[in-house]
Structures are given as C-alpha cells and as structure tokens.
Amino acid sequence: MNGEVLIKVENLKKHYLGGKVKALDGVNCEVHKGEVLVIIGPSGSGKSTLLRSLNLLEIPTSGSILFDGTDITNPKTNINIHRQKMGMVFQHFNLFPNMTILKNMTIAPMKLLKMPKAEAEKRALELLDRVGLSNRAYNYPSQLSGGQKQRVAIVRALAMNPEVMLFDEPTSALDPEMVGEVLDVMKELAAEGMTMVVVTHEMGFAREVGSRVVFMDGGVLIEENTPEEFFAHPKSQRTVDFLSKVL
C-alpha cells in the first residue's frame, strides 16, 4: 500500500427505481498509484457498476469520487478532461467498426490531444507492435479475432497516455483459447507499473498479478486483502462460499 492515492471513493451509492434497487450501497475504497486492484464478486454484486462509476459512465446517486484530488462527481467538474486520463477496456471491446485499427487508435489523440497525424500514427504503430498486431493496422475490426480486438482496445486506450486503466471483464466475451493472449498483455502492462483496476472472473490473474483483491456482494465491499491472504484465508463466509464455486 505504498504509493499515493490516485482514486478515492467515498460512501458511493447507486440506486435505481427510486431506491428499490441498490447497485452500490455505500462503497469506500482507494486505488493507489502503480497497483493492480482486482474486483471480484458474483454477478449482480455491483462490481461493474463500481468500475463504471470511476469514470462516470454510471452517475452515482450519492457519494464522491476523488481522482487526483478532484471530486469528479461534482457537476462543475469537466469530466471529459479526466476521462482522457482514465483508459477503459470493455467486455465487448467496443471498437469503432467503421474505422481501421489505426484510425481507431489515432482519432482520440488527434482530436482531443491535437496530436499531429504523423505522430499519432507513429505512436499507434509502436503500441500495435508491442501487442504483436502492427500488421493489422489497416484492417477493420470485423477482420480480427476476439482476442486481437481486445488487444487493440487496450492499446487504443493506452494511446491517450492514461494514468489509470479500467478493465471491465476484459476476457468474459472471449473464446477460452484467446483469454491468454489478452491476459499476457495486461500482465505486461502491470509489470511496467501501470495503475489498473480490473473487474474479472479470472482468479488466476487476480492471484498472480493483483496487488490487492476486493470482494463485493450486494453492492458493498465484503473484504479486501492481498491475493495471497485473500485466497488462502478468506475471512467472510460469503467470500468462502463464492470461492468454493469459482475455484
């Protein structure tokens, strides 16, 4: 838990239908610079909602989220500026189908960071090279496999030079044989010291790469610990039940 706090979530609540459904019911947590925070939990536990709240894709009902010391839940905050520093990877990749891989990666740096086209493309090609897809730069997303798409989605987010990467079940929609190639890219990223928040069902990844593991259920944090402790000595009965089903 060294490293300063990058994201601080305070008493975050997200209610639907006038409070009948509580997706998040008072969550407190912190993300430190350079760590890999892994969020696990059964489906409907609110883990995706929590992750999506971090860059306000979900607007919380109450509570606050401090990013780099700024409360981004304040309506006066320009969320777009902060989102540029928070890369996001989705379960279903969400590549832009009408653009080439290169265009997918350069449109945001060019339009938002005003990066010259040549520079943006050079950087994009370097990033693609790192994930072994530089030969795919001029293909369209539909010509790629799921694993390739997700690798592109990761480098598309990286092209904006984010301070933190948010992963929303990045391997859930992949065929089993493609999970490895995506996890490898994520491991590499973690090794380079990127701050990451990962919602996943990959317990192996959590154990191997995670700095901390958070278990959520019913919209609240049940327990958090280092991966070793978490998997070896779960404290809560709910955690025990969950782990018994997934391991």
């Binding site: 928070m86 189908p97 539909s142």
Partner: protein
C-alpha cells in the same frame, strides 16, 4: 402500324417541338432538381440536429437529471421544441406548408424557387430527423461509452463516432426520403413555380394533349429516380467495404 407511328410522331411534334414547349420541360426539370438538391441539404443538416437533440434527451435523460445542471432543463426544452416541430411538420400536408411559406411567412421573397427550397427543406428535416433518430438509437450503446471513455464530450462523440456509423445504416432509408422529396416537389406549381409537373401541365393546357406531356414527365421522373438509386447504391457499397 405506320399510321400509328405517324400519329405518335405528330403528337410528339405538337407537344414538344412546334411551340418550343420542350424548353418548359427542361426549365421545369432544372427547377425540380434545384429545389430537391438544396432542400435535401437543408433537410439533412437540420434533420441531424433535430435527431441529435431528440436522441440525446432520450439517451441521457436520467444521467442529466441526476447531475441537475442547467443543461438538463435546456435539453428538455429543446427536446420539447423538436417534438412539436416534428409533429406539426408531419401533420400538415406539404402543399399546405408550401403555401403558408409563400403567402404568409416569406411574403417579401419574390423568388418562388427559394421559398420552395425552404419549405421542402424544413419539411424534409422532420422526416430525416426521425430516420436519424432511429439510426442513432440503433447504434450499440457501447459505441457511445467507448467514445465517452476516451474523453470525447457528447457532441464530439456524436460527430466523430456515432453519426458516421448512423449515416451508413440509414443510407437506404435516406435515399427513399430523397426520392420522395423529388416527387413531392411536383406540388411547387401551386405557388406559381414551374417545376417538371407544372411544365407538363402547361403543355397539356396549351395542346389539349394529355398523353404525351404526362408520359414525358413520368419518364423523366422515373429515369431520375433510377439514376439516383444507382448513384446511392455505389456510395453505399463503398461505405460497406469496411464491414467485410
């Protein structure tokens, strides 16, 4: 048979050659095309704006309400305005709208073609808006989220990410609207504009021949529509390439 062709030829000459009436067809066709072309541009631009406002409200109502900004009330107001506009335009026959523009709103505008461009353009916008709104709503929500998560604001996401995809998916429907518009301009004669239909009408009134001018007009419309369909088809295929 020879007699038949001779009679056809005689009628043809009477209707188009004798008094130079073919010039009316040319002039009328030109006016029909000019009105359609500029009305399509107005309709497209205004329609996209209307559709963006409408779908923005529909898609973001909840999140905007939660953030309680003035943006919510502004958007709500404009959404209401767009709804009223679309309802009124779609509820009133275009020929009535045209006459209202000509005799009531743009009273001082002497150029009938300009009035028609405005009337048909504003009319078409309502239809284009609904076509586009359907297109925007049909784009996967993940595309919005991907755009927003990269840091694009709402309008940028629309312009750079969503609209280009929407255009591709609504192109066939949009072509229908262009074709419908071309044919709708045939009521321009009501405000004294000589469009293609009116040109045929005039020839009919002068020669008392119904067949020749009507068939000529029909064939010109038909060929124009076939050409338009062809051109849009090429355009569409080019856009579709990326899907493969």
């Amino acid at each position: 048979m020879a007699e038949f062709f001779a009679s056809i030829q005689k009628k043809f000459i009477l209707c188009f050659v004798d008094d130079g009436f073919w010039k009316w067809l040319v002039q009328g066709f030109k006016n029909s095309l000019v009105i359609t072309f500029f009305a399509v541009i107005i309709g497209f631009l205004l329609g996209v704006v209307l559709a963006t406002v409408r779908s923005s409200y529909d898609k973001n109502e909840e999140s905007l309400r939660l953030r309680k900004g003035i943006g919510y009330y502004l958007l709500r107001f404009f959404n209401g305005l767009c709804k009223v506009y679309i309802t009124v335009i779609r509820g009133v026959p275009v020929v009535v709208q045209l006459m209202i523009w000509y005799f009531v709103i743009l009273v001082s505008q002497k150029n009938g073609v300009i009035v028609a461009v405005v009337a048909f353009g504003f009319n078409s916008a309502a239809y284009v808006a609904e076509i586009f709104r359907g297109g925007i709503m049909s784009i996967d929500g993940g595309q919005f989220e991907a755009g927003r998560s990269l840091g694009f604001n709402y309008v940028q996401t629309m312009i750079y990410i969503i609209i280009p995809q929407v255009i591709k998916s609504v192109l066939p429907t949009l072509l229908n609207e262009v074709i419908a518009l071309l044919k709708e301009t045939s009521v321009a004669g009501y405000v004294g504009i000589m469009d293609l239909t009116k040109a045929g009408d005039l020839i009919r009134g002068r020669t008392f021949e119904a067949f020749m001018p009507l068939i000529a007009v029909a064939i010109i419309y038909l060929i124009t529509v076939i050409v338009l369909t062809k051109v849009f088809g090429i355009f569409e295929r080019r856009l579709r390439k990326s899907e493969r």
